[in-house]
């Protein structure tokens, strides 16, 4: 794969450029707009839920922001990724290029977006009087696993979207459910062990929890958490890669 990547580097760069230009070129706010999105949700959640849940959770703003920054990345990445293959049908039905390049190009875009939001996040942490420790460096780990996880989910969704064009509605509902099921603005402490088990199986929640433990708890999660995150990422990537390999020459029938 690295060999093909270096061979297709020029193409990959041009695809990334194209996606960027198409997204930002003709808007006044440009990149600022996509960073505004998590901030606006943050504001709404803080206002709406601050009274209910805020009383029992310290640093409530940072608490929500941890959830938001991860969830918005996931939802943007999966939504963009889902359309990446079908949107380039005119290309891959004429030229034989590795089809995952389209998805990776979109991932670069959402990653940059996420990293910019992270800067705002750190600024908010500082406003919220969070103690910065060396452990913040460990945040690179969930970012890495989340990136791989997002790519994997993107591969799966983009393949499915070629076959089933109503995937975007279905995924829209699924994302909505996931948003409420990821404990973004509430806490799972005090829930029954069974309910906590369910949350433990939610990859997005696990990444959020990692963030919170480092940022608000000032501690690094245990080894098992690290392995679980890696597991989520690799399974998603494996399923996605399998679908792309298996259907590589068959996507053509559906576009």
């Amino acid at each position: 794969m690295t060999e093909t990547l270096s061979r297709y580097r020029f193409l990959f760069e041009e695809l990334v450029k194209r996606d960027f230009k198409k997204k930002y070129k003709r808007t006044v706010l440009g990149m600022g707009w996509s960073m505004l999105m998590p901030l606006l949700t943050l504001l709404v959640m803080k206002l709406v839920f601050g009274q209910f849940f805020g009383r029992n959770i310290d640093h409530f703003t940072t608490y929500i922001f941890c959830g938001n920054v991860i969830f918005c990345w996931f939802s943007e990445s999966s939504g963009l990724g889902m359309r990446s293959l079908f949107g380039n049908a005119a290309i891959f039905s004429k030229v034989n290029v590795p089809k995952y390049l389209f998805l990776l190009s979109g991932s670069v875009q959402t990653l940059i977006n996420f990293l910019l939001t992270m800067l705002v996040f750190l600024f908010f942490c500082w406003l919220d009087d969070v103690t910065f420790t060396w452990r913040f460096v460990m945040l690179a780990y969930p970012v890495a696993t989340m990136l791989v996880f997002n790519i994997g989910i993107g591969l799966v969704l983009s393949a499915l979207y070629v076959f089933f064009r109503d995937m975007d509605y279905i995924w829209g509902v699924a994302t909505q459910l996931l948003m409420y099921g990821s404990a973004i603005f509430y806490s799972v402490d005090g829930m029954s062990p069974k309910a906590q088990m369910v949350f433990a199986c939610n990859p997005v929640y696990r990444h959020i929890a990692y963030f919170r433990e480092v940022v608000l708890g000032g501690a690094v999660p245990d080894l098992e958490t690290h392995l679980t995150l890696a597991c989520f990422a690799l399974v998603a990537l494996a399923v996605g890669a399998f679908m792309y390999k298996h259907y590589n020459t068959r996507f053509l029938y559906y576009v």
Partner: protein
């Protein structure tokens, strides 16, 4: 250089497309899910040597484009085998695949990248591409503002720089207006005379007679003839088109 032996390609068409997941599940459950399969190409066999130029002829729906896609590696043959030696370049339906939002310059680079050129090569060649396409004044215009003739001119100009060992052309010789057409045909000849093995799909019998050293006649996916007797096959094909009779059988 290139050989196809017993190549058959089965296409899927029918209800399965655009039905969505909910409908798909329902149809699967009620047993009304039907995929219609048909053979776009059946048992096509031919082989080409270096420097050969093959013309593929046949009415619409004969399986010409599908065969090209398989040769180019975009599709896989359901049965049979395709052996290619050397770098392959397929120029299929050139004007599509550009992005309307991007400028002429951006599209040129993207297309170059898709065709496998390097960035250094594109930096060098960009000026001559735009000049050849006569689009100097339009460099920074969004692509959607261009006329379709301009689009095909640009597509041709980028593609004509390619130096493959096997070249596949689908109706790309006839590009643009009178003056540009002459220019593009001359350029095409230059590429072909460079020793590439070329496959050409066209409806112009004149082009086939004039340029091709071998000819393959397909009819509804079946191979009617593969021969180096180009005038003979062309004459038979024209007679068939005129009388719409049953295609003759060739040895």
């Amino acid at each position: 250089m290139l050989s196809c032996s017993g190549v058959s390609i089965r296409y899927q068409v029918g209800d399965f497309k655009n039905i969505g997941l909910k409908e798909w599940v329902m149809r699967r459950l009620t047993g009304r899910y039907k995929v219609v399969e048909f053979w776009a190409d059946r048992d096509v066999t031919f082989s080409l040597e270096s420097g050969d130029m093959l013309g593929i002829i046949g009415a619409n729906g004969a399986g010409k484009s599908t065969l090209l896609k398989a040769v180019a590696g975009i599709m896989e043959p359901t049965k049979g085998k395709i052996v290619r030696r050397g770098k392959i370049a397929a120029l299929l339906e050139l004007a599509s695949g550009f992005d309307g939002e991007l400028t002429v310059r951006e599209n040129t680079y993207l297309r170059g990248a898709l065709l496998g050129y390097t960035r250094a090569f594109m930096d060098d060649a960009y000026g001559s591409i735009v000049d050849f396409a006569e689009l100097r004044d339009f460099e920074d215009r969004p692509f959607k503002q261009l006329s379709s003739g301009m689009k095909s001119r640009l597509a041709f100009s980028i593609a004509s720089l390619i130096k493959p060992e096997i070249l596949i052309l689908d109706e790309v010789l006839s590009v643009g207006d009178g003056a540009f057409r002459r220019k593009s045909e001359a350029k095409m000849r230059e590429i072909i005379s460079g020793g590439a093995t070329t496959i050409l799909v066209t409806h112009s019998m004149g082009q086939v007679r004039e340029m091709c050293s071998k000819v393959l006649w397909l009819d509804k996916g079946r191979q009617i003839a593969f021969s180096d007797d180009v005038p003979g096959v062309c004459a038979a094909y024209e007679a068939y088109l005129k009388n719409t009779s049953v295609p003759p059988s060739f040895p």
